[in-house]
Amino acid sequence: MRKASRLSLYSALWLASAIFSLPLLLMLSGSLKTTEQLARNPYRLWPENIRWENYPVALESMPLLRYLGNTLILCTGCVIGTTLSCALIAYGLSRVRWGGRKYLFALVVGSMLLPWHVTMIPRFVLISELGLYNSFWAIIGPTFLGDAFFIFLLRQFFLTLPEELFEAGRLDGLSHLGLFWKILIPLSKPAIATVALFQFVQTWNDFSGPLLYLNDPQKFPLAYGLERFVSSYGDQTHLLLAASVLFTLPIVVLFFLAQRTFIDGISTTGIKN
């Protein structure tokens, strides 16, 4: 390639990377400044004197640890619910030969097209009638009934497993439940881990679920709890930024640990359709 085009390529790459990462760098540096520094020189990336104290102060002034505990309860419950239910359902839709499965699968796919607006009120009524309003079960419970997207993902994976293994299992006298636990699950650990990861991130970030179903501040998870402080802490940007960094950090760490999974998960959904 010619030198000039090489140069313009690199400058475009640098510019794009700078634009996308600048807000994150500012978030980090802003969380380490004083209010006074933020007002005087908000754009300086490296603070004159780094204020680590912002973090303990943020932890003291907002009940972040309680929120974190609630978030972790929700995440654990939802991950267990989703992986268990979606694996069972996807097995029934892929490795059990029965007449109803293709209609049921069509319903799974079709349900993805229904916007949440239409089902929002009846679901709320149902959850309230069951006495689950203001309980973690309002959010965890539905994950035990499967999620269309994850069922779809797992089914596609289960279909790629060789039939001979299941045949051999059947000859050994394994029932469907036996085939599921002894053959399918050990072979599908990566796919199930992907689903668990996605569900974890989804629940960690979820804002509308807690907004709809929780009203006791003692039960708020991070995503919702943090929002409650936005209006009252408007003049304490450094603390809000510190809390946001704490809230974001686990997701960023997870992303770097499982980068391939994140990216494959997103790109396969784009290609497969």
């Binding site: 996308f20 109803g100 049921l104 319903l107 607006h117 499967g146 960690w204 990216i263």
Partner: protein, 330 residues
């Protein structure tokens, strides 16, 4: 013989029972979380219902109210216009920037993985954290965005405190007056929302990147032999080969943008303000259900939205055969 047929029938029965049992969580979920809510919300859309008293059938009253609000550009009408503005601009921008960024990031250079990661990272940031960050970045006095705009000579913008939008008749008037020496009050809250959405475009970039890496290299080689330059190769090879994915992302982007809620809620602190400019459909639905307790009216709104979304998707599918090129092989 008869022994084996009964065995076969027996195993068929076992399989059907097992299939039903394995799928039973979803059957229950489908009935209670989709089928019943679907039917109930349609019935309630024909009722007056406040969650406390039983629903009272009022026929098409709620739909009449929606139509009149559509004409007066209040309530539902305003929300629909807002959503249309946000969806049209953010979806088309995300296709254009998504494809361009993916083309750029597919260049074989040293450090490719780092550039990709930096562009993708913002899209994994939780919406609430991203919103907190952007409220600060868009602050009229101390925000980074206004500072960057000042470099290219654009005066301080009000962003989240302003209801006007840049790409509107009022915005054009403002812009032409500025060129003649007036003040400039161009970018408003929806533009702020679009800006923040674009920061998370990495999700789409990743999908385009995967599709670009699937384009056979011979196509580019053949184009080079025909003397095509970078731009012609992009136009005649990359774009047509990406068209199925662009189509998919258009549909997904449309559905996603219409459902945008958390960011709007945080940016407007749950109000849809200023001047109702952040009252997108999802915000309007949430407030009319859980602040005004008008469940019937809200259900009617949800149904109209659902039908509109269905119509838009169908329309996109109809046009797709004119511009989407599916590979015949494979």
């Amino acid at each position: 013989m008869s022994q084996s047929t009964t065995n076969l029938k027996q195993s068929e029965k076992v399989d059907r029972f097992a299939g039903l049992m394995f799928c039973s969580p979803w059957i229950v979920g489908f009935v209670f979380l989709f089928a019943w809510p679907f039917a109930a919300s349609f019935y309630w859309s024909l009722c007056r219902f406040d969650l406390i008293n039983p629903p009272e059938f009022i026929g098409l009253e709620n739909y009449r109210r929606l139509t009149s609000e559509l004409q007066s550009q209040k309530g539902f009408g305003l929300a629909l216009t807002n959503t249309l503005y946000y969806s049209l601009i953010s979806v088309s921008l995300s296709v254009v920037t998504g494809v361009l960024l993916a083309t750029l990031l597919s260049a074989k250079v040293k450090g490719q993985a780092i550039y990709r990661t930096l562009v993708f990272l913002p899209s994994v940031i939780p919406i609430v954290a991203a919103s907190v960050l952007w409220i600060w970045l868009l602050d009229p006095e101390s925000g980074m965005i206004n500072y960057l705009l000042s470099w290219i000579g654009i005066p301080s913008q009000n962003w989240l405190n302003q209801s006007r939008s840049a790409l509107s008749p009022a915005g054009f008037t403002e812009f032409s007056q500025w060129l003649q020496g007036g003040a400039l009050n161009l970018f408003g809250s929806k533009d702020a929302l679009i800006l923040m959405t674009m920061w998370g475009v990495g999700n789409f970039v990743v999908i385009y990147l995967a599709a670009i890496s699937d384009i056979p290299g011979q196509l580019y080689e053949a184009a080079e032999i025909d003397g095509a330059n970078v731009i012609r190769k992009f136009y005649h090879v990359t774009l047509p080969m990406l068209s199925p994915v662009i189509f998919f992302n258009l549909i997904m982007g449309l559905i996603r943008s219409v459902q945008t809620f958390a960011s709007v809620y945080v940016l407007s602190e749950g109000t849809g303000e200023p001047g109702g400019s952040l009252m997108l459909i999802s915000m309007q639905l949430f407030l009319s259900a859980f602040a005004d307790f008008e469940m019937g009216y809200t259900s009617a709104m949800a149904w109209v939205l659902f039908v509109l979304l269905l119509a838009a998707t169908t329309l996109l599918f109809r046009t797709s055969k004119h511009w989407v090129h599916y590979r015949t092989s494979s």
